[in-house]
Amino acid sequence: MELSCPLPETMPESIQLGHGSGGMMTHQLLEGVVFPAFGNSLLATRHDGAVMRVGNSRVAFTTDSYVVNPRFFPGGNIGSLAVFGTVNDLAMCGARPSHLSVGLIAEEGLAIAELTRVVRSMQEAAEAASVTIVTGDTKVVDRGHGDGLYINTSGVGICEHSLHIAPSSVRSGDVVLLSGDIGRHGIAVLARREGLEFEGAIESDCTSLHRSTLSLVDSGVDVHCLRDLTRGGLATALKDIADGSGLGVDVVEHQIPLSQEVHGACELLGLDPLYVACEGRYIAIVPAEQADKALEILRACPESQGAVQVGVIGESTGVRLESVLGTKRVVDRLPGEQLPRIC
């Protein structure tokens, strides 16, 4: 029997889809290309937004771009997502979001009626999140040079506290609280894009989270870190925090809330729900002695009423998951996009 050895694929020389996945390739692109170009102390916090002093205020500032396909999905659309996503990045700084900008990049041929639906939805989302869209820009690209509509939003908010909410504030012994069940957004979008039908409609969890985060901060909980679960899901968020804090996270699989519908869809598609995107869930890392108080506050907010403790911070670096059988395994970033298995 003759053996053969497959060839290695070297570091790609051009951008591939995996560079936008939030996983290992995104991480390498940021560390290798983007951060070195802009290196400064604010960027070095590796958080969802930057918090800086402007006059007498601590201002949080963030930006995000939205390229979701399909543009309309159960539970939201690219417009509501673009508002809530940026509001949530500000919320993860512990800030009260106040003003947003909107950049629209439309492809020649996009129906005005569709754009109208999207911007109306943005305004509704902004009202729901109590933010004002105060400036913006519109560009049109040739047909074939865009995918219908891309949206960029930037936002500012005020931090009305003196907490330093960032991975570097995480301490060994802290607990990890998760605001609710995971994976709804990723599965809702995938199901719509691929025309998959599952028992029971799965809606995106897309919503604004700042009321929940602010109620934690305002009640005096010593919040060490907040992180919303977007692309890359819970696993990637935990890994980012482990790396950013130089500590480790131990999570217990059966404590992670997962709806029957999302769980079933993930089983059918061979996806790991730990890596499936959310747009309305976050983790809060707080001192163990304040866990009960924090959970009580979270559960009083509609967007985090399903909050539970899912893990603890420890000295040993990396993320470890205890399975339903009591065995442990390591959780890492995925290389690129999570790909459905063949069989």
């Binding site: 029997m1 053969s4 060839l7 694929e9 591939q16 290992m24 059988l325 298995r341 069989c343």
Partner: protein, 368 residues
């Protein structure tokens, strides 16, 4: 559905089987789980940590992505790069390294590569895009063969002239024969792939069990299934028996799924096939029958590929044959990682190396 599945992930039941395995085992045994989906489960649930040290599990060649030969990957990439061609494939295939680059790279350089969830999706793309030549990369074991056959059959019924398949279907029993016939074989029992048997039944395995005096247990994919499969296999070995047992009867019948088999028979014929990492195995593949030859992308498009394998110290061939474990490779987790795989077993989530890397690589607690 989930309550049903959860009962096969039950902690108590799993631990009971693990205890029973410990009770009956008296000496070392080496078992192979044939399918990559089982490998994935074993590593994901840390099942090896529950087993007594006498049991060694080695991971079989049942990962369709891993065993697709490099010349087929090269052909897929070359076809995707042809003007006017849309290549449809299962997601995992995009990251498998060919002689130079993978389908992800071809896609980033302008090739029209689409991920599909079913071969019938590729038919739909062909119907909706009559000006594109749609090629479906038909890979996999007996599990994907019926649906892939159905796609070709349906294309023919509809006279869909812009549709073809690049076929690299493989069959499990000839690979088991190859593993057992290898001079250095150390496999003493098999956990057969439950879903392959769902389609094909297990009559063919009875001959293998008899000829090689090797126990074969038709096994599912959940922790309880796998531990039960190991227990039955060990019980046979300890008592000197070598038969086929089917504890996965909730899915598998002895004769399999005749309707699916008929569709495979109608469209495909048995052929020799090269397996990546294992070499040529006689009668181990499926190719299109003469009647469906016009749907064969290999004969429709004359793409030249210059395939070359590098001598890079990758031991994926030995891993696929169960002769080595992923961590015995000096490149594992160092030069070879899922984002820069040296071999196909590091690519697919069903590949043994990728499963180890993802769930077990730096674990202080994980398995052996």
């Amino acid at each position: 559905m989930m309550e049903f599945l959860d009962s096969y992930r039950d902690r108590e039941a799993s631990l009971r089987f693990a205890e029973e395995i410990k009770r009956v085992v008296t000496r070392p045994w080496t078992l192979m789980e044939v399918c990559g989906g089982q490998t994935h489960s074993i590593v994901r649930y840390g099942l090896h940590a529950l087993l007594p040290q006498e049991i060694t599990l080695v991971h079989g060649p049942g990962c369709p992505v891993c065993v697709t030969p490099i010349e087929m990957i090269d052909k897929g990439i070359a076809l995707a790069r042809l003007p006017g061609v849309t290549l449809c494939t299962f997601g995992d295939m995009l990251r498998v390294p060919g002689s130079s680059g993978d389908l992800f790279r071809a896609k980033s350089e302008g090739a029209d590569v689409r991920i599909v969830y079913s071969p019938l999706d590729s038919l739909k793309i062909a119907r909706e895009n009559p000006n594109r030549a749609v090629v479906f990369f038909a890979i996999g074991f007996e599990t994907t063969a019926p649906a892939n056959a159905m796609a070709v059959y349906q294309a023919n019924q509809e006279k869909l002239r812009n549709y073809s398949v690049l076929c690299s279907q493989v069959l499990v029993p000839p690979a088991m024969n190859a593993v057992l016939s290898a001079q250095r074989n150390r496999i003493q029992g098999f956990l057969a792939a439950g879903h392959v048997c769902t389609v094909m039944g297990y009559e063919e395995y009875e001959r293998i069990a008899r000829d090689y005096r090797v126990p074969i247990v038709v096994t599912g994919f959940e922790p309880v299934d796998i531990l039960q499969g190991i227990l039955l296999c060990v019980q046979q070995l300890e008592t000197g028996r070598a038969v086929v047992e089917n504890p996965y009867s909730r899915s598998v019948k002895r004769e399999g799924n005749r309707v699916a088999q008929d569709m495979v028979q109608r469209v495909f014929q048995i052929c020799d096939r090269n397996w990546r990492g294992m070499g040529d195995i006689a009668d181990s593949g499926l190719s299109l029958r003469e009647t469906y030859r016009e749907y064969d992308a290999s004969s429709r498009y004359n793409v030249e590929v210059a395939t070359h394998d590098s001598e890079d110290g990758c031991i994926s061939g030995l891993v696929l044959q169960g002769l080595k474990k992923p961590k015995e490779c000096c490149h594992f987790g160092k030069r070879c990682t899922p984002e820069h795989p040296l071999g196909a077993t590091m690519v697919s989530s069903e590949g043994a190396c990728a499963a180890y890397y993802r769930y077990d690589s730096s674990s202080p607690i994980g398995g052996r």
